[in-house]
């Protein structure tokens, strides 16, 4: 599988904590296997830094299979790097060329303050969900699952919206740092299902209100979020959310 190993130059954002200023620091990395994942390359670099008595680079990661949404590197000006439809942990070094310089930065948005190096605080997303991204059903209240038929088309569309992993790439890539794609994905998932109808309009209002409070920017329909979303969440969701929001506003 291996076509020969590579040497790369990394420029990585280092920042001690949220209060201090950060800067790009250059690290040469050698003998990188094309079968390595991007994060494994960071593991090797960090091992090396520890052995040299330097501080390793802090970065968020967990499942390393593209589903937890924790990894969050802004690589050569693109969230999750040069390939579409994947997260940073799924990016492999065969997507880079020998001798290349790779710039790695954290997500940048007012609503996502840097904690350290490449690690940012995305708790704003949790607060948006807590404001309304749910169906109010207590445990034990449910009726038989098949008593509520849902057309396959609606179920599939709802699932596609629900595939969002909450990584924040949409915010990071947006020039306004807007969270519309993230919020609209949850709004759509529930608006497309009959179970979501009773709270449909209060939900969209509450979630949008919280989104604004968190300091995310406005949507100007550039569509960058859709392009960079590792799960292919569609812009249609934003249109659906806007419609629901208008209906909700008109009614109240």
């Amino acid at each position: 599988m291996s076509d020969g190993n590579m040497n790369l130059t990394l420029k990585v954002w280092r920042q001690k904590n949220g209060n201090q200023k950060g800067e790009l620091v250059t690290y040469p990395v050698s003998n990188v296997s094309p079968d390595m994942s991007f994060l494994e390359m960071f593991d090797v670099l960090n091992e090396d830094l520890v052995e040299k008595g330097q501080e390793p680079i802090a970065f968020d990661h967990d499942c390393r299979e593209g589903i937890c949404g924790m990894c969050s590197m802004y690589i050569n000006g693109r969230p999750h790097g040069p390939k579409e439809g994947i997260t940073t942990c799924q990016l492999h070094m065969r997507s880079f060329k020998d001798g290349e310089t790779v710039v790695v930065e954290p997500w940048r948005a007012t609503a996502f303050p840097v904690i350290k190096d490449l690690v940012v605080d995305r708790s704003a997303f949790d607060r948006i969900i807590a404001a309304g991204g749910f169906i109010s059903v207590n445990t034990g209240n449910a009726q038989d699952a098949n008593s509520l038929p849902i057309s396959k088309d609606d179920a599939d569309k709802s699932f596609e919206a629900a595939a969002c992993i909450g990584c924040g790439a949409c915010v990071a890539t947006c020039k306004n740092a807007s969270a519309m794609l993230f919020v609209s994905a949850k709004v759509s998932q529930l608006a497309l299902l009959p179970q979501g109808q009773p709270e449909r309009y209060s939900r969209v209002q509450n979630m949008v209100e919280q989104m604004d409070k968190e300091g995310f920017g406005n949507c100007t329909n550039t569509g960058a979020c859709e392009v960079e979303c590792p799960k292919g969440i569609s812009l249609e969701n934003i249109a659906r959310m806007n419609r629901d929001y208008l209906v909700a506003k008109a009614a109240h």
Binding site: V50, F134, A142
Partner: protein
Amino acid sequence: MALDSKIPEGPLAEKWKKYRSTVPLVNPANKRNLEIIVVGSGLAGASAAASLAEMGYKVKVFCYQDSARRAHSIAAQGGINAAKNYQNDGDSVYRLFYDTIKGGDYRAREGNVHRLAEVSGNIIDQCVASGVPFAREYGGLLSNRSFGGTQVQRTFYAAGQTGQQLLLGAYSGLQRQVGMGSVKMYTRHEMLDVVIIDGKARGIIARDMVTGQLERHFGHAVLLCTGGYGNVFFLSTNAMGCNVTAAWKAHKKGAFFGNPCYTQIHPTCIPVSGDHQSKLTLMSESLRNDGRIWVPKKKEDAEALRTRKKGPNDIAEDDRDYYLERRYPAFGNLVPRDVASRAAKERCDAGYGVNNTGQAVYLDYAAAIERYGKIEATKHGIDASAAKIVELGKAVVKEKYGNLFDMYEQITGVNPYNEPMQIYPAVHYTMGGIWVDYNLMTTVPGMYSLGEANFSDHGANRLGASALMQGLADGYFVIPYTIGAYLSNEIRTKAISTDHPAFVEAESKVKAQIDTFLNIKGTKTVDYFHKKLGKIMWDKCGMARNAQGLQEAITEIQALRKEFWKDVRVPGSANELNPELEKAGRVADFLELGELMCKDALTRNESCGGHFREEYQTEEGEAMRDDENYAYVAAWEYKDESNWELHKEELKYENIKIAQRSYK
């Protein structure tokens, strides 16, 4: 101390029903004054926390990730079992119960497993009500598929992302409670010890991973929903952060550890590619619904495949050994995981493995693509050429398994639509865990364990799509009832001040350990030790074990542990985000757990489920149990370093006739 599993009396099918109606209750006014700590926010933790908060308890939830939504339940792919019998194929609560006991190789409790099967249907109802978009048929009803170890279709799914959808469902319920103020969420927090006062669990010490601050938290009860310990092997399908620390600290403070040697090695993972490897990626068991597993029949073909002189498509049909279909005609490619994994190892050890390492077998979709292509052609009345059939078939496979196929290509660079996937077994799940009684309470009063963290329902081998079922059963439908048995006696207990000496002492011990790590200033990284431990565990306490290897492993682990405490290097300081420091704490605990796993494996002189002792096998190489001497749960009590006392909980089978497991 005698172990009391507290299984209710009465006929199997009546136990839970009767118990549920008689378990003491706590009135709503008192619930408001009772505080519950939940550690871990996966399926078990999130569903428990949301359900308990809905009931009126005050709940605090802790997770090490930056959001509750990232717990590793999210990565479960294939599905969740439930005895709904929607497919009219003869499923029932009893069959799910029976399959689970048999799949667990007769090493699980009847009472617990029957309860699990009983509530399985409620889980699906609850998830649908909370907006989980399961796969559906054109008629609008829920779709099912098959998983290993069963002959019915009872697995509900959402493409290859079932765990994600279920977790996001539980997470949204949890966030709803957070929004209402009834749950206080502590993300980026790691539990580093449990606090015990007068013999009861009364709180935890947690570290804020951003500031490094140690915090004391009181609770009338503590729920450990912290997942499994597969990362003791370094390479596993677990997330990088998965660890045993919370469970291990509880163990060292009195919670017995049940069946630590029962590890599930999943048969279909992407093989190791090099030394840099940080984790292994699972290819869902659902792929075995349609894929066929084979190796070449001839050794010279295997050799040619390893050196890339031939490709898999060059091997003629007659020269392929579909070894699972050959050995197990009744279940074929859908045998349980332990059986499939061992069969792959057997072929590779015999010299028929592929990949440059010889440590891989093929998972082939060509037959499924052709079969689906023909169905499509017939459906649309096309008189299709062979090429057209393949094209139509690929489209169907893409619809069913597209994300998995994409993932495979992303990692390996090989297109699995055109060439069979290479797979090999990898550590995936741990059936062992903290010992709990029927109430899910550990041997420490007031401390509970839910989900993968406990040992309870899967015996020596877990069936596919049963982990999600158990996590949600424990959290949504078991703990809300059983916790009443304890808390109804705690209504007079006022919140204990965290200035209590037990809190002070626990915190100072945690601080001392952190200071020790930072002061060793050795020469080797934490990962160096973790990888070494992983290799010992995989080689000697992995898919196959023997007495000699296990004894060696124990000695090696003890030596490695000594070296670790002398020579580990942890950079940075205590009062900041410090991933190396976090890892050091986790690896220190793995270095103790590993020894106990080997000890347990060495003590269990039989083969059962995921525990395969080479000395105990039938002539055909199948696991050979010893029901006379080993039909018990091994519950280990921690005494001091390298010293445990074994307690046995006898397993009684009153409803199922215990037999040699056969999938032939």
